[in-house]
Amino acid sequence: MTQFTIDLKDGTATVELSGKLDTTNAPELVEELKTLAGKDVSKVAFMAKGLEYISSAGLRAIVFAKQKIGQNLEVFVVGATAEIIEVIKMTGFDSFVTITNTL
């Protein structure tokens, strides 16, 4: 059973993240994101309110969304804590994901 469920509606794919997104479960998220390739998706929203920890493996999953699903795809990280936002900024990922409080 996968921990990640992607809800696709009106071109927006929503993924709920909680707890940790690290080397143990990020590959699973990538697998789930792959199912979006070729579909009519314009936005991916990572709902990150319950996310406590993200490692570079988790960030890679987010880059994967942007690189593999479509270049015009908008990627949102929604409701992340200051700590998660700091990690995203540390790696310069804030230049291509939109960090926001609400979608």
Binding site: Y53, S55, S56, A57, R60, F96
Partner: protein, 139 residues
């Protein structure tokens, strides 16, 4: 000095991370810094778990302690896998557009951002990675 030796496998990953978090907390770091040190540890642990022993069957050792002047928390990772210097890798261009962003190199870049000093050496058949973080760090 505290020391933990485990098989370098993904199913031991949580145990390794708990050890690192516990030791960083004991050294007196606040929770946000402990999280960052855990993040750095994850990057290097994942490297060893995923790449050091292509045929499996190797161990990795994490040692934690203080520097001789008691100013730094020192975390050392030792494995006897394939020679691998994680520092011998160009930093990713974090300003590059997404389509040009490479997926590799990001982890060690984060380690270097988080820790104050990172040194690699090969001793005999062992990879030794020493990472230090100043204890008086304030957020």
């Amino acid at each position: 000095m505290e020391k933990l030796t485990l098989p370098a496998t993904l199913d031991k990953f949580e145990e390794m991370m708990s050890f690192v978090r516990e030791q960083a907390s004991k050294a007196g770091f606040e929770a946000a810094i402990v999280n960052k040190i855990a993040l750095a540890a994850e990057e290097v642990l994942a490297n060893v778990i995923n790449y050091a022993y292509p045929d499996g069957g190797g161990d990795l050792t994490i040692e934690t302690g203080l520097s001789s002047d008691n100013r730094n928390f020192v975390m050392t990772l030792v494995d006897s896998g394939n020679p691998f210097d994680p520092l011998n890798h160009e930093d990713p261009d974090i300003n590059a557009p997404v389509e040009e962003r490479s997926i590799g190199g990001l982890g060690i870049f984060m380690v270097k951002k988080i820790m104050d000093d990172v040194q690699y050496r090969r001793e005999g058949d062992r990879n030794i990675l020493v990472m230090e973080k100043k204890l008086d760090v304030k957020e």
